[in-house]
């Protein structure tokens, strides 16, 4: 509770004047809670009489002012080769009538969007919003905020209103709030009776909740950690309509998608981000059409784990504030976290709460400009196969990309979109970097038509690359399947660089492709094998009689028995695997046969890395962001993540 000097008293009439004065102040947009049919919404306020501070809950949370449903990120001009402008106009806003649970939800989103990797769009909006909260006067039937301890809050607001029947008390939460109140409202200071009354009112709120959690929020993570395979997920999800209404109305859901909108004459367009939801099937769909977490029961489960385990383990808070919106919006009535957690209440707890999460540092761009791509030029474009093409790219600011082997960039083509592509060159002294692209989605198909001199956008480098320091003084066993050779090439080029070669012992490169004409960089492989103590083995799955192929035939796994174990003292060998999802478990088995420990195996995984900075939610494997903690992982770290090698 704030000190008395921070609490002001205002009569009901003066409060109306206060609100109308703010509305008249053209510096601000004033948003307040209003009626919409039988419900309430946050909307532009034109008159204090429209304000309904006695509401129970709004249809959508105030999130829509911090992360709008459709937010224009930038405008681009398609008549020029690379012309992009960020949308910078923002009018300061007063949000009037925010309930404590929503204030706490905003605090959580602040943490996600402002800590570490700042989101510049969110920050701009956040800095321009003044929050005037109100203590709850009517409880929404589905709410369980009392059990979540989010029914009151002492922080997170600029001003907080409490209805004292004949007058309002206004608690000052910030200097911004104090200035606003002094400018527009006539108040007097509160006395000890008022303070006592506020305390009583807040206490009374708690007693009015009819819904109660049987598991305190501090224990959600334990309960969920133990019940990942509980039949409840399959059973309840049978009724799911896959409409994602639960995530749309959630004050703590923040995943988004990005789309390019182009004018009919194709002259200009905008890049827009819009709410996305993990219950939607295409949420995890990658360029090639593969969908991860395809089964509805897994998507249904994911939402609860995100709220109750993944985010709590990462940030230290349960990402549910008990507002009850999802429970109200869900037609089959299966989305309510209170019901689900209560159903699990008499099942096991697990102390190993972080089993779906890994702790790994990731690079942070302090400048916080993470969404607007940098202009780059295609220097060289060569078709490698029918469906794969090689590009040499140079940034137009003539700076090196500065990547580590194994990292990726987001390639951006305005009007078409963005796609994550692994960097295919080592971090050598040259200014440019290489990308290899397979024609699968919109961006890659468009890239296929591009030629030297054309402009593209580049964001990144993103993610964790290979821990090349840790590989020093070790033998390296590098296995690539299919297009996996492209990112592997970045590591090979790095370790074969004359400046680096002596740091590593023997290097064995294993490479398998579907058929001979799908093999990439054969000339380079030949050069690699000429280097002292470097051995390359190539195989193809199948070979037509017409193919001119004298090499090995068979799956990549047939190559491992050929490796001489005596040369490969397994304890001093680092194995790296990059390939299509299906090959991992087979290769790992081979490596185990060779006696290579799990902790010495590294893999690079593919998911839908849309934003590259751990915000949009698409690339998640359980509690892990592939774009941030990956795409390169130590096998030991992720082998127990259920979603990693599904």
């Amino acid at each position: 509770m704030k000190k008395t000097k921070d609490i002001r008293i205002i009569t009901k009439n003066e409060f109306k004047n206060f609100v109308n004065n703010m509305i008249k102040d053209e510096y601000y947009n004033v948003i307040g809670v209003k009626e919409k049919g039988i419900k309430y919404v946050f909307d532009s306020l034109e008159n204090a009489d429209d304000l309904r501070l006695d509401y129970d809950v709004t249809i959508l949370p105030p999130k829509k002012y911090f992360l709008p449903q459709y937010e224009k990120m930038m405008d681009f001009n398609l008549r020029e080769s690379f012309n992009v402008k960020k949308d910078n106009s923002i009018k300061p806003m007063i949000l009037l009538g925010v309930h404590p649970y929503d204030i706490i939800a905003i605090q959580q989103t602040d943490k996600l969007y402002l800590d570490a990797q700042k989101d510049d769009f969110y920050k701009k909006r956040r800095d321009n919003i003044i929050i005037i909260g109100v203590d709850i006067q009517k409880i929404s039937p589905k709410s369980f905020a009392g059990s979540m301890k989010t029914h009151v809050t002492d922080f997170g607001f600029d001003l907080m209103i409490t209805n004292l029947e004949d007058k309002y008390a206004i608690t000052i939460g910030s200097e911004k709030g104090r200035t606003l109140l002094e400018k527009h409202g006539k108040t007097k200071s509160a006395d000890s009776t008022d303070v006592k009354k506020i305390r009583e009112i807040r206490k009374k709120i708690l007693s009015q909740y009819t819904r109660e959690l049987k598991v305190p929020k501090e224990e959600w993570s334990n309960v969920l950690a133990a019940n990942y395979n509980h039949p409840i997920w399959e059973k309840r999800s049978q009724k799911c309509m896959e409409c994602s209404s639960c995530t749309m109305v959630c004050p703590t859901c923040y995943c988004y998608d990005v789309v390019d909108d182009v004018s009919l004459d194709l002259k200009e367009g905008s890049r827009i981000r819009t709410w996305d939801g993990c219950l939607i099937r295409d949420f995890t769909k990658i360029g090639s059409g593969e969908v991860f977490r395809d089964d509805i029961s897994k998507r249904y489960r994911h939402r609860f784990y995100r709220k109750g385990n993944y985010l709590p383990e990462r940030y230290g808070f349960v990402a549910c504030v008990g507002c009850g919106r999802c429970g109200t919006a869900c037609l089959p009535n299966i989305a309510d976290p209170c019901d689900v957690i209560n159903d699990l209440s008499h099942f096991e707890r697990s102390e190993d709460t972080s089993r779906f999460f890994i702790k790994q540092k990731s690079k942070v761009d302090e400048k916080g400009v993470i969404h607007v791509p940098r202009s780059a030029t295609i220097k060289r474009a060569e078709k490698l196969t029918e469906n794969e093409m090689f590009f040499e790219i140079e940034l137009d600011d003539h700076k090196k990309l500065g990547h580590k082997p194994g990292q990726f960039v987001e390639v951006s083509i305005f009007g078409v979109g963005e796609a994550p592509i692994s960097v295919s060159s080592g971090s050598s002294s040259k200014l440019s970097f290489d990308l290899v692209v397979r024609r699968v989605g919109n961006v890659t198909s468009r890239l296929f038509k591009m030629k030297p001199g054309d402009k593209i956008g580049i964001r990144g480098p993103f993610g964790n690359g290979f821990d090349v320091k840790n590989f020093e003084k070790k033998h390296l066993l590098l296995s690539s399947g299919g297009l996996g050779i492209a990112p592997m090439r970045s590591l090979i080029q790095y370790v074969l660089d004359p400046n680096n070669r002596k740091k590593y012992k023997d290097i064995t490169i294993l490479y398998g492709a579907k058929q001979p004409n799908a093999l990439l960089f054969l000339d380079e492989v030949k050069e690699w094998s000429k280097v002292h103590n470097v051995k390359c083995e190539i195989t193809v799955d199948e070979c037509a009689e017409s193919d001119c192929w004298t090499g090995c035939t068979g799956l990549i796994t047939t190559l491992y028995p050929k490796i001489k174990l005596d040369r490969y003292d397994s304890e001093n060998t680092i194995a790296v695997i990059i390939g299509p999802p299906v090959v991992y478990k087979y290769i790992i088995k081979c490596l185990e046969t060779l006696g290579i420990q799990d902790g010495n195996i590294y893999v690079s995984l593919e998911r839908r890395m849309k934003c590259g900075v751990g915000k949009c939610g698409h690339c998640q494997i359980n509690g892990v962001y592939v774009c941030k903690e990956g795409p390169v992982f130590n096998y030991n770290q992720i082998k127990d993540l259920p979603e990693a090698f599904e």
Binding site: V259, S263, L266, R281, D294, V416
Partner: protein, 260 residues
């Protein structure tokens, strides 16, 4: 070179083409990126040489089928325009009765026996006759989505039609859920892309963009009970555009998108 575009109509009200004609000044932008070589509603000229055929309407007769096949063979890309073409739409309502009965009910004793115009069979959507490359759903279509599909094709990308239900867009519009107002709405199972225009104006979704997933029977029955809705209301909503997705005997059968 700009792609050559031709419009064709089969059994329909031609309202979807009218939506395009209603682009008004924007038609000028449209013809900047494509050559419209045939569009009966707005021009006299016609050419049989086109890259993109945009087909409105359902297929009802052998003569329609013959014409459609010809169009398909000439076009590199075929787009189905509007509910009649994409899902059969209201034209499929009559498929619940034998065709002979329907003819008798409508034409009574008129002499139509050897007239090929009246030689009808149960209604088909365009993709039940020829392969369709892209769909522009809706009754009528939304101009915005038409523009999105055309600009995508002009930019060489695959048009992305939402694969999620209307609820997503309805929630973003912050509407009061129509179920809470005692109305049965097909939004939860209908393909989005319309911007939830009907529920946003207070009118329940009729499913004109096609059903995405069919929830299990038990779930639907529970829903009806919870919101005090009648089976009849649900049935009439479903029968409007999605006659074949709804079996009046079993209700909605269990078919899942996510579960293969």
């Amino acid at each position: 070179m700009k792609p050559r575009v031709a419009f064709f109509d089969f059994s329909s009200c031609e309202g979807c083409q009218l939506q395009i004609a209603d682009l008004e000044e924007e038609i000028l932008d449209l013809i900047e990126i494509v050559d419209v070589v045939s569009f009966r509603e707005v021009m006299k000229e016609h050419s049989d040489e086109y890259d993109i055929a945009i087909v409105e309407g359902s297929i009802m007769r052998p003569m329609d089928e013959h014409r459609l096949r010809k169009i398909r063979s000439r076009a590199k890309t075929l787009i189905a325009l509007g509910a009649c073409a994409t899902i059969g739409g209201v034209n499929k309502i009559r498929n619940q009765w034998p065709t002979e009965e329907v003819i008798k009910e409508v034409y009574k004793d008129a002499d139509i026996k050897d007239n090929e115009f009246f030689n009808v069979y149960p209604t088909k959507a365009v993709n039940e006759v020829v392969p369709v490359d892209y769909y522009i759903h809706g009754c009528p279509i939304t101009r915005d989505e038409f523009k999105k599909v055309i600009t995508a094709l002009a930019l060489g990308k695959k048009p992305e039609i939402p694969n999620y239900p209307v609820c997503v867009e309805c929630k973003k519009n912050e509407n009061v859920c129509l179920f809470e107002l005692g109305k049965f709405c097909l939004g939860p199972i209908t393909r989005a892309g319309c911007g939830a225009i009907c529920p946003s104006k207070g009118s329940p979704c009729d499913g004109c963009r096609g059903i995405l997933s069919k929830p299990d029977v038990e779930c639907v029955m529970e829903l009806l009970e919870r919101y005090d809705l009648t089976y009849e209301e649900m049935k009439s909503r479903c029968m409007m555009y999605n006659t074949e997705s709804f079996n009046p005997k079993d209700g909605m059968t269990i078919v899942r998108r996510g579960r293969k």
